[in-house]
Symmetry: C2
Subunit: 317 residues, 2 copies
């Protein structure tokens, strides 16, 4: 029997989503588990197997599968490992590809979750047909995947494309996870938007704002978005500031790899023009003439769960 | 007769260097002309032909050559053009590959001068055998060439790798050539070092410095270097500051493509540890854990003229 299917698994900080995908990029069945339900990786594999093994059996057993593709934070494609992932309970270096192959008897490839999303975007999404583009996830954190000449950029150690950690404000906000100061992720993420809102509220005590009626726990990027939509001046400034920083960073990325497009996804993109207008403006202002008005900023059209599963599965074809 | 030779041509802002290269990377003969002696590109070609045509004839005529490789500012590999080069007299878009082929009857490939230098470094220099590295030229300006998986990064429009124009200080120094504010080139270049020295002298009128005995015209990056070597505090601060900015920028580049090494050349590297110590320190401070103490900073061992000619010639093999 010729192997017909791939398994795509997206290991996130909260949920792990997985599904069986055919060669046309259709997800035939999918499910999810909590990533951190168990303390260690052995426990995770057991919980995963309870749901994944029946899927494998249903589609014809291990022989029916070309492979398992897995996207995970801090995953190393070359080594098949997950290394020191800050958002997972598993500490140190986890030989995930080996563990998976032993458990499910299917060859397994691993890559950074953001890289997997970029591959999904190239094969099935808005970047279909493009050879040079960058995907940026603006979620709780900032992830990125870089495609050059149709390939994921992995670099000499497999950890290339960590654009969320690029310094955009020297000596700026401290990132507790990395210890870096002024990194993009500290500004252009849901957490960053919240921090900017708090900073602006505190440094402008005389400016009235709808944001002042929320408790610190209620103040999220969504709250800021809703207030901005209602015309709140400070809330709008939060997105102006966030967009400016993001746009400046995008200009740097363009100068590096000359992408045809930058594909954005993640929660922050829901703010639409509120964030995209200042982003685009700041990007264009910081570009050399040869790049001006040439680089598209696009929104992903795949839903997030699908993109992650499809991207991971695309690793094995 | 099987073609045995390549011609490498490096078009610089001041000089154009060219030579005949064999498959072992030996420059068999070389010469140079002034790039801007004539007003237009036709004049340039005539002056070039006076010296290059005899070389071609000496080695057996056009049939003896695989091709001409040309490195030039603002050169586009895909189009074979030089486009709006700020440092050349030729305005607009110059179809240089076509012009050369018509004149010398030898196939011609063109790329950015910094990309050509990177290829030279990979084939014959300190990056021999490396698949992932970045070259940075710290001269009058800042040029760069990025190699990923053994290939030059060109991007969708052929202009990738313009790292000298990355913004490193928001709202910082105005770059007259590009109109950009706070670009790396405005700091980590010979011009930038001079500007930093002037700024520091003016903002610290009470601090004595050897630099104060020079006229504004005498104040160059070399003057600053000589004073720093003699222990001058302000002159040392100039290199501390320059190195800090350069190192921060290098950290950004590492996060992008995870290079095995960064290869530096150009005049500023002569300042040695004065600039490299703060550069390395700032780079390491701004790197994620997975990159710390992993990326080499190397000096080019090729002399500049050779690297440029060799790199350009390597385009055609």
């Amino acid at each position: 029997m010729k192997a017909k299917y791939a398994i795509g698994i997206d290991v996130g900080g909260t949920n792990t989503k997985f599904g069986v995908v055919n060669r046309n990029g259709e997800i035939l069945i999918q499910d999810r588990i909590k990533t951190n339900e168990k303390e260690n990786v052995e426990g995770f594999i057991e919980v995963l197997a309870e749901k994944l093994q029946p899927m494998i059996d249903q589609f014809g057993g291990p022989e029916a599968f070309v492979g398992i593709g897995m996207g995970a934070p801090n995953a190393n494609y070359y080594q098949g490992t997950i290394e020191y992932a800050a958002n997972l309970k598993w500490k140190g270096i986890i030989p995930m590809a080996d563990i998976m192959e032993e458990k499910f008897k299917i060859p397994t490839k691993l890559t950074n979750d953001a890289n997997a999303a970029a591959v999904g975007e190239m094969q099935y999404g808005v970047a279909k047909g493009m050879k040079n583009f960058i995907t940026i996830t603006l979620g709780t954190g900032v992830g990125s995947g870089i495609i050059i000449d149709g390939n994921i950029v992995l670099g000499f150690n497999g950890f290339a494309g960590e654009l969320g950690h690029v310094i955009v404000r020297n000596g700026g906000r401290l990132h507790k996870g990395t210890g870096l100061k002024g990194a993009l992720e500290s500004y252009a993420s849901a957490t960053g938007v919240r921090d900017t809102a708090i900073e602006l509220l505190q440094s402008n005590p005389d400016i009235p704002s709808l944001l002042r009626s929320f408790t610190i726990d209620e103040l999220t990027s969504e709250t800021v978005f809703k207030c901005a939509e209602q015309g709140d001046k400070l809330a709008n400034e939060v997105f102006e500031f966030t967009g400016k920083i993001l746009g400046e960073a995008l200009a740097t990325f363009v100068l590096f790899s000359a992408p045809e497009a930058i594909v954005l996804f993640g929660g922050l993109t829901k703010a639409g023009d509120l964030i995209m207008k200042p982003t685009r403006q700041a990007m264009e202002e910081n570009l050399l003439q040869v790049f001006k008005n040439q680089v598209k900023i696009l929104y992903s059209t795949l839903n997030e769960a699908d993109a992650a599963i499809l991207g991971a599965s695309a690793l094995v074809w």
